[in-house]
């Protein structure tokens, strides 16, 4: 290995380190019912607080590493979704939150719905649920970050939820 290669490897390491520790996320709703969007927003708020993983939700596609998509793709928003994806700098990752982003969910067969997000842009990670709980969303994103660290594709994980209702009211 030449010195130059070593330098590149080192830089790559720094890049991965930085990426894993402060992924900036962009959120786009391409036709969801709002339930998933609200749960994504809830992950930012004090009880869940994803900022402790360095995850920040922000506004411009050009600053984003991760695109968080919700909802099925409607005809109207298809081109916008593609354009937002294209505006994001490489490397970029797409996380789909919610059943209808995965398959069209309950809206399957509606005339204006194309189906899941993967019909339009490549997807790296799916978080099922209608809507997934904030815990599930955080878990999913952390899985993605783990995968980035090792450079492997995220694997399917089956999570059997603990019985809930122990939260203090």
């Amino acid at each position: 290995m030449s010195d130059k290669d070593k330098g590149v490897g080192f830089l790559d390491k720094i890049r991965t380190w930085a990426r894993v520790n402060s992924p900036w996320a962009l959120h786009y709703n391409s036709g969801s019912c709002n339930g998933c969007d609200i749960e994504i927003l809830a992950t930012l708020t004090p009880r869940y607080d994803v900022e402790r993983f360095g995850i920040k939700l922000q506004g411009s596609p050009r600053h984003a590493d991760v695109l968080i998509c919700t909802g099925p793709v409607t005809m109207q928003s298809r081109d916008r979704l593609r354009r937002i994806y294209e505006q994001m700098p490489e490397p970029k990752f797409v996380v789909v939150v919610g059943s209808c982003g995965i398959s069209g969910g309950v809206f399957q067969g509606c005339y204006n719905v194309l189906g899941g997000i993967e019909k339009v842009i490549p997807v790296d990670m799916y978080i099922p649920g209608c809507p997934p709980k904030p815990e599930a969303i955080i878990f999913g994103i952390v899985q993605l970050l783990e995968a980035l660290k090792t450079g492997r594709k995220p694997e399917a994980v089956a999570v059997i939820p603990e019985p809930q209702f122990e939260n203090k009211a």
């Binding site: 709703n29 019912c33 708020t45 909802g71 409607t74 067969g109 005339y111 204006n112 209608c130 809507p131």
Partner: protein
């Protein structure tokens, strides 16, 4: 000579979480006109409803809007029950109202946070969303899901309230009552915040009536319009609510009206829990609904929700038409926007508590004045 600019915003934009496209015409800092393009989340639900059975539709309707999902299913279920000539048992109706009022708590707290965020008051956003988790826990405790609770069945409700849950809910709402009082003090006394809300976006009573405003937006302008009071449904005859009105018509009034409504909700939740009638949870529904048509109205957190349902006697509806409150309120934003500073627009938009997923059916354009 002044120059006019068009500022396009959206559909992907940092302020709101849902896509919509605004075109704001400005002269310097001043807004002279505003147009809106909706439709990015138009999914064709009304048409889709015609291909699904009555029961399947219950779940589809719930997903018209993820914030006020319960009222959609409620309006649909009540309409279908009226068509079939069935009445839900008293306990079921009380539980429906209970969930509807819990939902109002969650929706208004959510809105308070979003509106505060638009005003640049992120501390309030974080506080109100932290407290909102209390309601989310209660809803999850009752139904098992945080957002689409699926409380309704055709002819009744799916779950009962156990004595243990009752205690938890009473505890939860007592905590929230204190918090809401605190927020009310904040929106009425924080000078910076008042600077963004007092006298901004004033909507007179006549204008509100002319534009057909509904819900808290209308009530903040002194229009006494509340389906819960005007045409009580569910158990609102047994457990009535008081209508909260304000004559001010500005953004501050919209904050105050919404927050004061929460006290009413909390009071009614307590009353229901302490006097829950004993009965079955469901009534028997026929699989085929007799032919006919019906109008079903309920008060969603954002205003009047209107369902028109036609049945042709089969196991699927012939037509379902939904008119959601946000759509009725858009006119008020476009009418009050001219003359304001550009920076006030996010607040004005947030002031009606817009929800795009439910109103994406049309295009609203205001002509240049």
């Amino acid at each position: 000579m002044s120059e006019k600019f068009v500022i396009p915003i959206g559909p992907q934009h940092p302020a709101l979480k849902e896509p919509s496209h605004f075109e704001i015409f400005v002269d310097g800092e001043e807004v002279i006109n505003a147009t809106l393009r909706l439709g990015y989340v138009h999914r064709g639900i009304e048409k889709g409803a015609e291909q699904r059975t009555w029961t399947q539709n219950l779940y589809l309707m719930e997903r018209i809007c993820g914030i006020c999902s319960h009222v959609h299913a409620l309006a649909f279920a009540q309409g279908v029950e009226a068509l079939a000539g069935v009445q839900a048992p008293p306990r079921a109706r009380a539980i429906r109202q209970l969930v509807a009022e819990l939902e109002r708590l969650h929706s208004h707290l959510l809105w308070l946070g979003v509106a505060a965020h638009e005003a640049g008051f992120d501390a309030l956003f974080m506080y109100s969303w932290r407290d909102r988790e209390t309601v989310m826990d209660l809803l999850e405790l009752l139904s098992g899901n945080r957002v689409n609770y699926s409380a309704n069945l055709l002819g009744g409700v799916k779950f009962d309230v156990t004595p243990d849950q009752k205690v938890r809910i009473l505890d939860g709402v007592s905590f929230l009552e204190e918090r809401v009082q605190y927020y009310l003090n904040v929106v009425n006394s924080d000078e910076t915040f008042l600077g963004r809300t007092r006298g901004v976006g004033v909507l007179s009573r006549e204008e509100a009536e002319r534009l057909g405003a509904v819900g808290p937006t209308a009530r903040a302008s002194g229009v006494p319009r509340d389906v819960r009071v005007d045409v009580p449904y569910a158990a609102y005859t047994e457990f009535p609510v008081r209508m909260v009105l304000s004559q001010q018509g500005d953004l501050q009034a919209r904050f105050v009206v919404r927050l004061e409504e929460l006290f009413e909700s909390i009071r009614v939740i307590r009353e229901i829990l302490n006097n829950l009638p004993e009965s079955e949870l469901t009534a028997r529904m026929p699989r085929r609904i007799p032919a006919g048509e019906v109008i079903s109205r309920v008060e969603a957190p954002r205003g009047e929700l209107f369902y028109f349902i036609v049945s042709n006697g089969s196991d699927k509806p012939e037509r379902v038409k939904v008119r959601t409150p946000s759509l009725a309120n858009w006119g008020t934003v476009l009418a009050t926007a001219p003359g304001h500073k550009l920076a006030d627009i996010p607040m004005l938009v947030a002031g009606i508590d817009p929800c795009f997923s439910c109103n994406d059916r049309t295009v609203v354009v205001k002509t240049v004045r």
